[in-house]
């Protein structure tokens, strides 16, 4: 964190300006710090969502992204309003993915948490981070970034089917057992994310208007 003056004397006179005064469209240090703080709040919301979705049912983890989408709206909306530059949403998703990976989730969750936030960022950029509709759509897409942690459920299914096959069960039997569970639950979970993302995003925008715009923060 500390910069030692003896280590690099040459670039100091070349670029003495802090990057905050640099280009208006790029992420500066204060933006990164804001993103970090909103990411921390977002991560706490994800933890709450994990708790809630496991309490709903034993296999309720597949609704983790949906529950998270429901409660993370205000955090996302305020972060977009505060940062309002390209890259903010992406960095948020990447950092969340990194923390999920370090806390022992599947590496694929990292891919999902890069791709979907980047797409959401691009969509929100169309409206220049001001248009409410594009931000809302961006939020819904961003919410799909959390599907990473639940993807192992489908991998686990493969493993279980493999173990059943090894025990000599017929393929028909396995198919009838799992065709309903896997495909049906997958689409239900994905649709739930869409609906909950819309509701959560709308709630977030309402909260933003009610509390933060009035206070001059957003």
């Amino acid at each position: 964190m500390t910069q030692q003056p003896t280590a690099a004397p040459s670039p100091a006179p070349a670029a003495p300006q802090p990057t905050s005064a640099a280009k208006p469209g790029r992420l500066a240090i204060p933006d990164l710090i804001s993103i970090g703080i909103f990411t921390a709040l977002y991560f706490v919301c994800v933890c709450v969502a994990t708790l809630v979705s496991t309490l709903i049912a034993g296999a309720g983890t597949i609704f983790l992204p949906a529950v998270a989408a429901l409660i993370c709206g205000p955090v996302f909306m305020l972060s977009v309003a505060r940062v309002g530059k390209f890259g903010g949403i992406t960095v948020m998703g990447v950092v969340i993915g990194l923390f999920l990976f370090v806390s022992g989730h599947f590496a694929l969750s990292f891919v999902a948490s890069i791709v979907f936030p980047l797409a959401g960022d691009l969509i929100a950029r169309i409206g220049n981070y001001k248009n409410r509709v594009t931000i809302l759509i961006g939020y819904v897409v961003f919410c799909y970034g959390l599907t990473g942690p639940i993807l192992p459920l489908w991998f686990m299914k493969d493993a279980y089917v493999a173990s059943l096959e090894a025990r000599g069960k017929s393929a028909d039997y396995i198919n009838t057992l799992f065709s309903q569970i896997s495909v049906g639950s997958f689409f239900v979970a994905m649709a739930a994310i869409l609906v909950c993302g819309l509701i959560g995003g709308w709630f977030g925008q309402r909260i933003l208007k009610k509390h933060f715009v009035k206070a001059g923060i957003a």
Binding site: P30, V44, L98, F212
Partner: protein, 303 residues
């Protein structure tokens, strides 16, 4: 989270010259380098990806648990070990029951769920065999039981498959200080746009907990959501009343942190250095090799 004694001892080590990593963190035993921890995490993910058989998985889990004990996290390690071996025992027992019976795994699982009501289990396992004979076309009432039994089995297998990742994750999380983490990330050439938010996230977690307590106190003072289940009864209201002050505070903290960080020179261009010194020593390499070998053998099908 950072404790000054270990940081200063690490600095002393670096000044003293080539000391091994085992001298670092004197109070909590030997710890691996952060990058070695990351490598263990990757290995655990590979284990999940390649459906390794039970024996290889058990060996890998034992290898992953070892650093937790060496680092002095006895309670954490014991809890994870007991959980894993309970799940393993459950799986092995159900396998054995399936082998002895005539393919009635649904029956044995139902017996497990029903707490060993033998006559029910026997009856349903008989019907299970019958249902298999007609290729599971007849949707009888026992099919629901069989499905429930398989879902239980699926859950136990699934949780056991997640265990290596959870163990390595717990190890990485509980034994790495912020400065080590940041130093490792910078050494791996992670861009500053990722490093700074990560640093802020770790630093901000205790503040969130503190703020949450204060908000709950303030709510109780005004008689809002004072009871035990009052938060659950009005979920939208509780969400609004808790998250709005948290966000308000977050904006102020972000402004203060920005000022502090810019004053300390975080915004200056050029390479940043770290006080904490991390170094890969022979122990890290050796442990990485030791963990890689059984995984490679198991994937190759030798083990």
């Amino acid at each position: 989270m950072t404790n000054p004694s270990s940081a200063s001892s690490a600095r002393a080590d670096s000044r003293a010259g080539s000391r091994s990593t085992s001298q670092r963190g004197t109070h909590s035993g030997v710890r691996l380098d952060p990058r070695a921890k990351l490598y263990l995490l990757l290995l655990a993910n590979l284990l999940l990806f390649f459906h390794v058989d039970t024996r290889g998985e058990a060996i890998m889990v034992a290898l992953f648990l070892l650093p937790l004990f060496v680092a002095g996290r006895w309670r954490n390690g014991l809890r994870l070990a007991v959980l894993y071996f309970a799940l393993l025992g459950l799986g092995l027992w159900s396998d054995a029951a399936t082998m002895s019976g005539s393919g009635g795994s649904g029956g044995s699982l139902i017996g497990m769920i029903g707490g060993g009501v033998t006559d029910t289990a026997a009856g349903s396992s008989g019907t299970t065999v019958a249902a298999e004979d007609v290729a599971a076309t007849a949707a009888s009432a026992t099919d629901a039981f069989v499905t429930a039994g398989h879902v239980a089995g699926l859950l136990s297998v699934g949780i056991r498959m997640m265990m290596p990742c959870l163990i390595t994750g717990a190890y990485a999380f509980t034994t790495t200080s912020i400065s080590e983490f940041v130093c490792a990330m910078r050494r791996m050439r992670v861009p500053e746009a990722i490093v700074i938010p990560c640093m802020v996230v770790i630093r901000f977690f205790p503040t969130i907990v503190h703020d949450y307590r204060q908000i709950r106190n303030a709510m109780a003072l005004r008689g809002i959501a004072a009871g035990r289940f009052a938060l659950v009864r009005h979920p939208v209201q509780s969400l609004e009343f808790i998250i709005v002050p948290l966000l308000m505070n977050a904006t102020f903290v972000s402004r203060d942190l920005s000022v502090a960080a810019l004053t300390k020179g975080l915004g200056i261009a050029g390479e940043h250095t770290c006080m904490t010194v991390i170094r890969m020593c022979w122990f890290d390499w050796a442990y990485m090799a030791v963990c890689t070998a059984p995984l490679a053998l198991a994937i190759g099908g030798v083990l």
